[in-house]
């Protein structure tokens, strides 16, 4: 079965640079979520979208923005990167009528 696809899988950026992560949800899923997992931490909710509209906002820094496009894929844009942004970023998707959230394999961001 198709899963949540994230790209790139690994990314190395320098401080103050910009990074963009992409997420392709499971087909027919209408809700996308972004999570950030720092080293040794549990995943923290950043933001979610339902039918291309932002639905919930968590601990997403102002330097970050995200959107969901007409084909339901989503992008997380991170600017003015800091060392502390180094983390594993997960995208997840679900169907509004369902109850299970499925996670992608994650994108490893290293800021140097």
């Amino acid at each position: 079965a198709a899963g949540v696809i994230q790209s790139p899988r690994h990314l190395i950026k320098e401080k103050r640079e910009t990074a963009t992560l992409k997420c392709y949800p499971i087909p027919r899923h209408d809700t996308v979520y972004w999570y950030q997992q720092g080293p040794g931490q549990d995943p923290q909710f950043l933001i979610s979208f339902y039918e291309k509209m932002q639905s919930d906002k968590g601990s997403i820094p102002d330097r970050f923005s995200a959107q969901q496009f007409s084909d339901y894929h989503s992008e997380l844009n991170m600017s003015s990167l800091e060392l502390g942004d180094s983390a594993l970023y997960f995208c997840a998707s679900s169907y509004a009528g369902g109850n299970t959230i499925y996670f992608g394999e994650g994108s490893w961001l290293t800021v140097v």
Partner: protein
């Protein structure tokens, strides 16, 4: 917000042993999931279990919603069971516990 506490934080087992992981939550929930994060970082759904009991092979889970806890049972553990087990509650803004790090030794 809702608090999620998992215990124990770390668990070391010999292959073949059984274990029970616990998740306590501070408020009523209508969505609770158990995940396994493998050593490569992948988060894998184990159970969606806001209440009741489910079994899948060597794994089973029970949630007692009225008492605000959930248990994950792993029987006949294997080295591939190693990793971190997370309990997470909520819907759109799912909140994770700190996880239980399981190490299964051959």
């Amino acid at each position: 917000g809702i608090q999620v506490e998992q215990s124990p934080p770390d668990l070391i087992l010999q292959e073949g042993a059984n274990s029970t992981l616990r998740c306590n939550f501070s408020d009523s929930v209508n969505n609770l999931q158990w995940f396994h994060q493998n050593p490569w970082g992948q988060l894998i759904n184990l159970f969606y279990i806001p209440s009741g009991t489910k079994q899948n092979g060597r794994l089973s889970a029970t949630t007692v919603a009225t008492e605000r806890y959930s248990l994950l049972y792993i029987s006949s553990s294997q080295t591939t069971d190693s990793g971190v087990y997370f309990c997470a509650v909520g819907a759109n803004d799912m909140r994770f516990g700190a996880g239980t790090r399981l190490t299964v030794k051959p």
